[in-house]
């Protein structure tokens, strides 16, 4: 479908970007320290941070991807919403407060808080980089996809534009500007999504969705037919059919799921769907990839606009009676009307016809009851592999959220564990509300005659367009800002991993506070440039695979380490490092061996894939846990410090009342007294012991609180 660049979209977009850059400039002047750069000074209000969480989390995959998937497959797309939200329960109940308590700038700090281990510093920083980069690619590709239709610019211009703006945002003020950009974007996204949903509900459903009379819907033609021997007899004599229609690739072999016929009228050829049940031929939409690389849309170049928008209700029943239009509906009435009605969806059939590769989208009537239950996309309830694949995906979504580095670093921008907790709750409220909206946005796009079948990612912006160009412009600018914001967060996370975890800690390069900020900025520019390059290189790759990768890798590499560190006292640094490595290698490895990869990336028969399911979490997460336990058990230290040594050390540190003082003492006294490492070991011992005492104390007091 060709898109006209809208001057409103450009104006609103330019205003938005200008405002974002002003935020970056404003905070740049205030950000002088490493704490300011990597953790926004640690003094962001929890409510702001909560909405910024929503901004971080509701990436292009959520906003564009989920709405598009619901518009194409119904309830199965909504399952992503539920999995993505449920992941926040892990974040709130298990990860939020300890993360804040243990870390300083990065997730690696928290993992390493008990150990000071080179192994953890390196592997955790590596996993942050791997996950961030996997997550960055789809965002950058998404930027290119968005820019093309909205502003009429080519893909690589979009990628470079996003990359450049993000580098400015991040390299000037780091986490402070990123946080306020995310806050703004998260808030606007939710407000305007709600606006679109209200508009969808007040317009209601229609069998002829004409955007409230603004834009006439395509009039579908059907031709009754009969087959006598090898002759296809058509009711409408103005169409002719080739004699060899039954031997063409479009008609298909004995096991073809859907059969097609080419009809000619007035010298123009079109592909028709042979609806054998109803005995009619129905219009299809086709994309033909020619051997020279050009594409034809319904037989003409894209600019001619013959590839019309689709999506409508075939039948609407209100109180058992069929109606053409419902008018204003409340949310449950809207869902119930779809549930009791019939919707036309448009599956795609891929056919190779000589040198041409065709994608044929044909109409299929599906009852609302089937559409609003699982099974259109996921192969559930039929085969064991299908069921396991689905369970594995839902496991990755559940466990991946609380292990995404760009989400975890947001715990260091607030002043206290209680604030970390409260901001998570604000995030759950905001994100949960948005995900409820996605069902209405997706179903709205499915039934409003706005779907561009070549790109389901555009479902939500195109739905907004059916309510007027201004709403479209705003939604598009927000969608673009979604990419900007998420990319900024990811780049801050990656730059922290490089500057703080690797350079400063792992390679032990002593940097001044200013030096750290400079290293962070340089790392941000470097990661930004890599992201731009990947975004251009992977143009056209299905982005949802990559988001799936990021979640599965995060769940496998990071989550076992976080959880075991918090809840299993025997966890050792070698156990953590080993589980991170096994998590990365097993999850990435299994994805590379999966049927989907064989089909999409290597263009091989998916049945050849050695690993039968697409989502690796169900194997790689337990494997990573197991590795951690086994390696930890084999690397237990006897007592780290003998009783005598501890007593001697305690005497030395006794005059200092707080750990902060002790740390200062360690820094200043180590030359003549203990070595720095020894004194730190002592301090850590004491900390652990103190924590245990406090735990016992808390346990002994706990019953009082439940009264």
């Amino acid at each position: 479908m060709p898109y006209q660049p809208s001057s409103w979209a450009i104006a609103i977009f330019v205003f938005f970007v200008g405002f974002v850059l002003w935020i970056a400039y404003y905070y740049a002047r205030r950000t002088k320290t490493a704490k300011g750069y990597f953790a926004a000074g640690g003094n962001i209000h929890w409510a702001v941070n909560g909405i910024a969480f929503a901004g971080d989390y509701l990436s292009a995959a959520s906003f564009l991807g989920i709405c598009g998937m619901i518009a194409a497959f119904g309830y199965d797309g909504f399952l992503y919403s539920i999995g993505y939200l449920a992941g926040w329960i892990v974040a709130l109940f298990v990860v939020a407060e300890p993360m804040k308590r243990l870390g300083k700038y990065t997730f690696t700090d928290a993992l390493d808080s008990k150990f000071n281990s080179k192994g953890i510093q390196f592997t955790a920083a590596l996993s942050t980089l791997v996950v961030s980069i996997f997550y960055l690619i789809p965002q950058m590709v998404g930027a290119g996809v968005l820019v093309k239709p909205l502003f009429g610019m080519p893909h690589h211009v979009g990628v470079i534009l996003v990359g450049a703006i993000v580098i400015i945002i991040v390299a000037t003020a780091g986490m402070a500007s990123t946080t306020y950009v995310q806050f703004l974007k998260g808030g606007l996204l939710i407000i305007f999504s709600m606006t679109v949903v209200i508009a969808v509900l007040s317009r209601g459903l229609s069998t002829n969705p004409d955007a409230g009379g603004e834009k006439p819907y395509h009039k579908f033609i059907t031709i009754p037919y009969s087959i006598e021997g090898e002759t296809l007899a058509l009711d409408d004599p103005s169409y002719t059919v080739a004699d060899d229609w039954q031997s063409s690739a479009l008609y298909g072999g004995a096991d073809a799921k859907a059969r097609f016929v080419t009809l000619t009228k007035d010298g123009e050829e079109h592909v028709w769907f042979l609806n054998e049940k109803a005995g009619i031929l129905e219009e299809t939409l086709t994309v033909t990839a020619l051997p020279n690389g050009n594409k034809l849309y319904n037989g003409s170049p894209q600019t001619e606009g013959k590839f019309f928008a689709v999506g409508h209700m075939k039948e609407i029943l209100i109180n058992g009676k069929p109606v053409e239009k419902t008018g204003n509906l409340d949310p449950t009435a809207y869902l119930s009307a779809i549930l009791n009605g019939t919707v036309i969806i448009w599956p795609a059939a891929k056919i190779t016809d000589g040198d041409n590769k065709l994608t044929v989208y044909y109409p299929k009537a599906v009852s609302g009851a089937d559409l609003l239950r699982p099974g259109q996309k996921f192969n559930v309830g039929k085969t064991a592999a299908g069921n396991i694949n689905f369970i594995s995906l839902m496991l990755a979504l559940f466990l991946g959220t609380a292990a995404l580095p760009h989400i975890l670093i947001r715990y260091y921008t607030v002043p206290s564990p209680a604030c970390a907790r409260k901001s998570t709750i604000v995030a759950i409220a905001a994100i949960g509300f948005f995900y409820v909206l996605t069902l209405f946005l997706g179903l709205g796009a499915m039934t409003s005659g706005v779907m561009d079948l070549t790109d389901s990612n555009m479902a939500a912006p195109l739905l907004a367009k059916s309510f007027g160009v201004i709403l479209f412009a705003i939604i598009s600018a927000i969608a673009f800002a979604t990419v900007l914001g998420t990319v900024s967060g990811l780049i801050v996370a990656a730059s922290g991993a490089v500057a703080h975890d690797l350079i400063n800690r792992f390679f032990n390069v002593k940097l001044s506070d200013k030096g750290k900020v400079l290293a962070g900025k340089l790392a941000a520019i470097g990661v930004g440039l890599i992201a731009m390059w990947l975004g251009i290189k992977y143009q056209g790759m299905n982005v949802s695979y990559l988001v799936g990768w990021a979640f599965a890798v995060a769940a496998s590499a990071n989550l076992p380490a976080i959880v075991m560190l918090l809840f299993w006292p025997k966890t050792t640094s070698k156990g953590i490092a080993a589980s991170v490595v096994v998590g990365i290698v097993s999850s990435v490895g299994l994805i590379l061996l999966s049927p989907e990869m064989y089909k999409e990336l290597y263009a091989l028969d998916p049945k050849l894939a050695p690993f039968p399911i697409d989502s690796p979490a169900i194997i790689s997460v337990p494997l990573s846990f197991l590795t951690l336990v086994v390696v930890s058990l084999f690397t237990q230290k006897k007592a780290a410090v003998s009783v005598e040594e501890l007593e001697a050390a305690e005497e030395r540190v006794a005059p200092h009342e707080t750990y902060e003082e002790l740390e200062v003492a360690a820094e200043t006294e180590h030359m003549e007294l203990l070595s720095l490492e020894e004194l730190i070991a002592v301090i850590q011992e004491l900390r652990a012991e103190n924590a245990q005492l406090r735990q016992q104390l808390a346990e002994s007091k706990a019953p009082d609180l439940t009264e």
Binding site: F93, G103, S113, L339, R373, F390, I391, I428, A702
Partner: protein, 101 residues
């Protein structure tokens, strides 16, 4: 040293209680979520069952989202109360209430 948090908020005496409460609530949600995932995969037909004007798939799905928020609010109320009580119990130890309501 680079260890330790980026801000100091005093001793968090309620952390043991909060951790245990969090684990129990996490387990409770896990069971409800696992039930949802298993039902969806093993028997999508059950999810098509009518519940009022809607079906089980939608009601259970929305229910999971609402349940997450309700449990989060309950958790916050209980933990905030615990923090206050511990803070009162150990005068001088300032519980983590900076930047709070």
């Amino acid at each position: 040293m680079d260890h330790g948090p980026s801000t100091h908020w005093g001793e968090d005496l309620a952390s043991g209680y909060k951790t245990r409460l969090g684990l129990w609530m996490f387990l409770a949600y896990c069971i409800v979520y696992a039930g949802f995932v298993v039902l969806n995969s093993v028997s999508p037909q059950i999810m098509a069952m009518a519940v009022g004007r809607l079906n089980l798939a939608i009601v259970y799905g929305f229910g999971l989202i609402v349940l997450a928020l309700v449990m989060a609010l309950v958790y916050n109320t209980l933990t905030s109360r615990a923090e206050e009580r511990y803070a009162a119990m150990f005068k001088g130890g300032n519980a983590d209430e900076e930047g709070d309501e």
